[in-house]
Every structure is written in C-alpha cells, then in structure tokens.
C-alpha cells in the first residue's frame, strides 16, 4: 500500500496545481474581443484576444510566413506594428536590426493580443486566396494556344498586379489520379476584377495543358489560388524592353494594357514577340491597334522560320537577334532601360545575355516555366 502513496501524492499535487493554473489561465487570459486593424482600416478583424498575433491571424486565413511555427526561433514572422504593444521582448531582439526597431517591426509570434492593434501587412499577403470560378470561354488563339477566360464566383473579385500568376487547380482525370496545380500568368488586366484570363499552350504529355485543351469545356467549375509573383511593372521612368514568345504573351499583355488603362503612357515600351511562323502569331491586330493610339508603344513581331505562304515582310530571325539589332541601332540610347521577359528558360537566358551586352541590368522575369 505504501508504495502507492508517493505516486498518488505527486500526481495529486501536480494535478491540483495544474488545475489552479488552468483556472487562472481561463480567468486571467480572457481578453474578450480584440480588433486587428490591418493597413489603416483596409481590413478590420474581430478576434478573440489572449493568443499571439501570428496564430490569431492564421485562424483568420492570413498566413504570415513562419518557418518555426511560432516558437520564436526563426525570426521570419516580421510584421510592422503601428500601435503601441509595449517594449521589445528579449526573445525578439536577436532578430531585429536597428532599422527594423526604428520602424517598430515585431515578431508576430511573440506579440500577445491584449488590446486593439494596428498592423501593416504587405498587400499580397492577405490577397492570396483560393478562388472558385466558371469557365466563361475557351478559345483557340493559335493552333496550340488556348485563351481560357474564367469568371470568378467565390470570391468574385481578385486584386493583383499586372504580371502576376495564379495556380490553376487541375482535378483528377483519366489516368491522373491526384489533383495538381500549375502556375499560369494572368493575361487579363487588373481592372477586370471579376475575371481571370490565362493563355495555355498545349504541351504534349503535359497533365494540366492536356486537361485544359482536351477535357475542359465552357461552364466547368475551376479553382485557382493566387495571386503570386514578383513579375510586375517597376515604378521607374526607364524604357521598358519586353520580350515574349508563345504563351509568354500573357503577363506582358496584362502589363501593357494595365499601363494603357492607367494612363502610364509617357514611358517608352518596346514589345518584341517571337514566333516560328505566322500560325504562331496571335493578338497582332490588338497590339497594332494600340500602337496607333499610343505613340510611345512599339510592337515588333519576328518570325524565325517563316513559311513561303506566309508572305512575311516583317523581322526575320531569332527574337534575340532582332532584340540585339534594335538595341544597337533603333532604340534611342539616351534613357535607362529595364528588361521584362516571359518565355522558355532558353529564351530568357539568351535575352539576359543580350541585355548584359548593352549593360541593362534591371531585368525581370518569372522563374517558372
């Protein structure tokens, strides 16, 4: 009997004290409802107080990046706090630079929500969402590229920067047993908030492209996640040299029409579109039309292997050769320049080399494809 006394006493004492802690926790850590004001009233969340900011935000569907899951050991969950949340904790200081302390940047996992708080989050953080939409139209723009236009239903609006991409969710079909996601740049302009337009080229054997080309039909319900990406117009006065091939048209088209709609027409834009023969060209009329109305916009399409029946009298050769020729002798050299690329990795690498030859170092492109 006596051998049971020790474990029983230790368990009873521990249990009793744990109960006391739980009761005190329940009473003391009850902070009621607390407001989180994000980006100066753009979004106000009413949440239960008492928990760290990081966890509270994630229950609200806002995912601040964190590698350690809120234990304060990675220092990734930095958030700019605009209201007073007390002095820095010793657990935060090792991750903070002097500049960050000056800007009151805090670790979201270390700040406990006790009262209303004002924070600033990068726009794209709480823009990333899952969208449900309906295929409104699915058109062939060339023999192997389809223009997929999706009307968003739930939520029915998307905010993105021209040039960003979304992940299209491909459901299981035929021999593909699992749902997959593929990234596609948005080709429609951001002003059309209710629609997402994608350009999808058929890749032989490709899971997603085969699905879109062979199985998808108008009226289908599709899901997408986004927007993502760092490929968008940089806010400078430099001339923009844009190069695309095939379905790389998508983000460039979005950027150009976004600039036109927002009246950013003082910048010189040179858009080089490369194709093999005339049957790979599309949207040419649209850009020619824009060229007539926007004097600083120049559209150059080049064919690398024009067929005899194409009667092509435009630029011939690889797009990199055409780009080099224009940079050398056509485009005025007085202004600084930025490069915007979208296409196959081979094309991007070749173009980056051409740009560096002319010491153009601000070159932007998406790393996928």
């Amino acid at each position: 009997m006596s051998m049971f006394i020790a474990p029983i006493v230790v368990s009873l004492v521990s249990g009793g004290l744990a109960l006391v802690i739980a009761i005190v926790d329940g009473i003391v850590n009850n902070y009621g409802e607390v407001d989180i004001d994000i980006n100066e009233g753009k979004k106000v969340l009413k949440v239960k107080g008492g928990a760290p900011l990081l966890q509270t935000l994630s229950t609200q569907g806002i995912f601040v990046p964190s590698a350690c899951g809120g234990r304060g050991s990675c220092g990734a969950c930095k958030v700019k706090v605009l209201s007073d949340v007390g002095p820095y904790l010793p657990t935060e200081l090792p991750y903070m630079s002097k500049e960050e302390i000056k800007e009151n940047i805090r670790l979201a996992c270390q700040i406990k929500l006790k009262k209303a708080i004002k924070i600033h989050l990068p726009e794209e953080l709480f823009n990333i969402r899952k969208f449900k939409g309906i295929v409104e139209s699915l058109k062939d723009v060339t023999y192997d590229i389809k223009e997929l236009r999706i009307r968003l239903v739930e939520p029915n609006e998307i905010n993105f920067k021209a040039g960003q991409y979304v992940q299209l969710v491909i459901p299981p079909y035929e021999n593909v047993k699992e749902s997959t996601q593929r990234a596609y740049s948005i080709s429609s302009s951001p002003s059309d908030k209710n629609h997402v337009e994608l350009l999808i080229r058929l890749v032989p054997g490709g899971i997603a492209t085969t699905y879109v080309h062979k199985y998808m039909k108008e009226g289908d319900i599709v899901e997408l996640v986004g927007p993502f990406g760092e490929f968008y117009m940089r806010d400078t006065n430099a001339d923009m040299i844009m190069v695309a091939g095939g379905s790389g048209m998508a983000p460039i088209k979005s950027i150009i029409f976004d600039m036109w709609e927002r009246g950013i027409t003082n910048r010189n834009v040179w858009y080089f579109f490369g194709a093999r023969s005339k049957r790979d060209l599309y949207y040419v009329e649209m850009f020619r039309e824009l060229e007539k109305r926007w004097e600083n916009f120049h559209f150059i399409s080049a064919l690398s292997e024009p067929l005899p029946e194409d009667n092509w009298d435009g630029e011939k050769g690889l797009i990199t050769n055409v780009l080099e020729k224009y940079l050398d002798s056509v485009i005025p050299k007085d202004n600084s320049k930025e490069g915007y690329l979208c296409g196959s990795p081979g094309m991007i690498n070749a173009c980056v080399q051409v740009f560096s030859k002319f010491s153009i170092n601000d070159v932007y492109y998406d790393k996928f494809a």
């Binding site: 230790v10 004492v13 521990s14 004290l17 005190v24 003391v28 850590n29 904790l89 657990t91 406990k112």
Partner: protein
C-alpha cells in the same frame, strides 16, 4: 523544536547577517549573469522576492499537512520544485494581465526563477530549521530582499569597475567572482550576530 526567534528579527537577519546569497552562495548563476545590468538586476530581485515569499508559505503548508503526516520526506525536493514551478506560472499570467509594465520589467526572468536554487534553498532551510508559518513567511520575504540587495549592490559595483584597468585574464566573470568574494567576506563579518536557528 521550534526556534525562539522574533519573525521581525529573522526578517532583518536574513537580509543582512545571514544573506542567502552572500553567506550560503545560493542563486549564483543568475546573480553573475544578470548583474551586468542594474535595471535587469532590479527586475530579477523583485521577481525573486515575490516568488520566494509565496513559495515558502505554500511549501510550509505542504510540509506540515502532507509531507510530515504521510512520512514523505524523500519526496520533499520534487514536491517543493513542483510548487515553485506552478507558482511561477500563475504569477507570470497574473502579472501579465494586471501590470503589463511590471511584466515587461521582469521579462524572461520570471520563468528563469523556477530553476533559481536560492528559492528551493530557502524552502529547505525553512523545513530544516523548523520555522513556524509566520517565521517562514518573514524568512522567505527577508531572504528575497537580501538576494535583491546583493544583486543590486553587485550591479552597482560592476558598473563602477566597468572601465577599471582589470588585468586581461581576470576580465569579465573572473573579476566578478573576486568582487563577490570580497562582498561575501564583508557580510560574513556580521554572521553569528543574530541567531537564525
């Protein structure tokens, strides 16, 4: 046998003549590391005093009504530590809510106190010396104040000697230990003036 000492006398004795830190050398780790900074020393001293007073009282009750009747002397260390850990947890939550400023001052020191040996030491002395409840409370409170006084004194001395030409091999902890030694000698000079057991 219960020692016949006035609790008030015991209180002052445990601050000056029987300082837990400088005569028993308990709670040295945080004493050396935190005394670098006067403000932190003050915070830690306050936290130690609070926890020491409360845990000594609670452990006295535990001793009298559980450990002695059930003859569980061999569980004493474990039970004392469990009580100390729980008290620190509860205190941390209450202070966080009631006084965020104090919480900020105490910062990470509060949880660290769980493993401060002076706290357990005071509880064990209290049991060893057969103090009454009132004596225990005053002993715990006084020992806390004594610990607080010692760390603030050391922090002040370290501040003064910060720019002193200390021989290179003794810089840092070396000179700190020597300083503590001299302080302890001064305090030990009073030892025995007042009977504590």
């Amino acid at each position: 046998m219960i020692p016949d000492i006035n609790p008030i006398v015991l209180f002052f004795a445990s601050i000056f003549t029987s300082n837990i830190l400088l005569t028993n050398f308990l709670g040295m780790c945080s004493f050396i590391s935190i005394s670098k900074d006067l403000k932190s020393s003050n915070g830690l001293g306050l936290a130690v005093t609070l926890v020491m007073t409360i845990t000594t009282a609670l452990n006295w009750i535990l001793e009298k009504y559980l450990i002695v009747p059930l003859e569980l002397g061999y569980l004493r260390y474990i039970l004392y530590i469990i009580v100390i850990a729980a008290v620190v947890q509860v205190l941390e939550m209450i202070i966080d809510r009631v006084s965020p400023n104090l919480y900020m001052v105490l910062g990470i020191f509060l949880p660290l106190i769980t493993v401060n040996c002076a706290i357990l030491g005071v509880a064990l002395f209290m049991q060893l010396r057969n103090y009454t409840f009132i004596q225990s409370v005053f002993f715990g409170f006084g020992s806390g104040i004594g610990w607080w006084l010692a760390i603030v004194l050391l922090a002040a001395i370290r501040k003064k000697t910060e720019n002193a030409p200390v021989p290179a091999p003794l810089k840092g902890v070396g000179i700190t230990l020597i300083t503590i030694g001299i302080m302890a000698m001064a305090f030990i000079g009073f030892a025995g003036m007042i009977k504590v057991q």
